[in-house]
Symmetry: C2
Subunit: 68 residues, 2 copies
């Protein structure tokens, strides 16, 4: 089953940042697609059995942080 | 003869932006190195016979603009 989760990510300031976050998340197992918007900080991840902790680690790997 | 020129570039918001500008400028003939700082907007280009119009075009190619 595909689900959609929205995370708030701090620190993205431009389209390059969005791309870095998106690429890092899209490498994760189970992820079908990711979208990031630096103006809102929202990152929408679509996939199946996507683990929040793994997404959080991928965001950190890209150099950003999932808020709260 | 190597010279150093400093340009003010608008629109850079993060380290990715700095890298985009730097890479585009470093491809230019005569350029030895380029440094970009998004906090000040300053881009320092070192090289010989570096043409301002060509630097301006490279910055535009990266998606930014040389001020004034």
């Amino acid at each position: 089953m595909t689900s959609e989760k929205t995370y708030t990510v701090t620190g993205m300031s431009c389209g390059h940042c969005e791309l870095s976050v998106r690429e890092e998340i899209e490498e994760l197992a189970g992820v079908e697609s990711a979208q990031a918007d630096h103006t809102t900080g929202q990152v929408v991840v679509r996939g199946s059995e996507v683990d929040d902790a793994v997404v959080r680690a991928a965001v950190a790997q890209a150099g950003y942080e999932v808020a709260s």
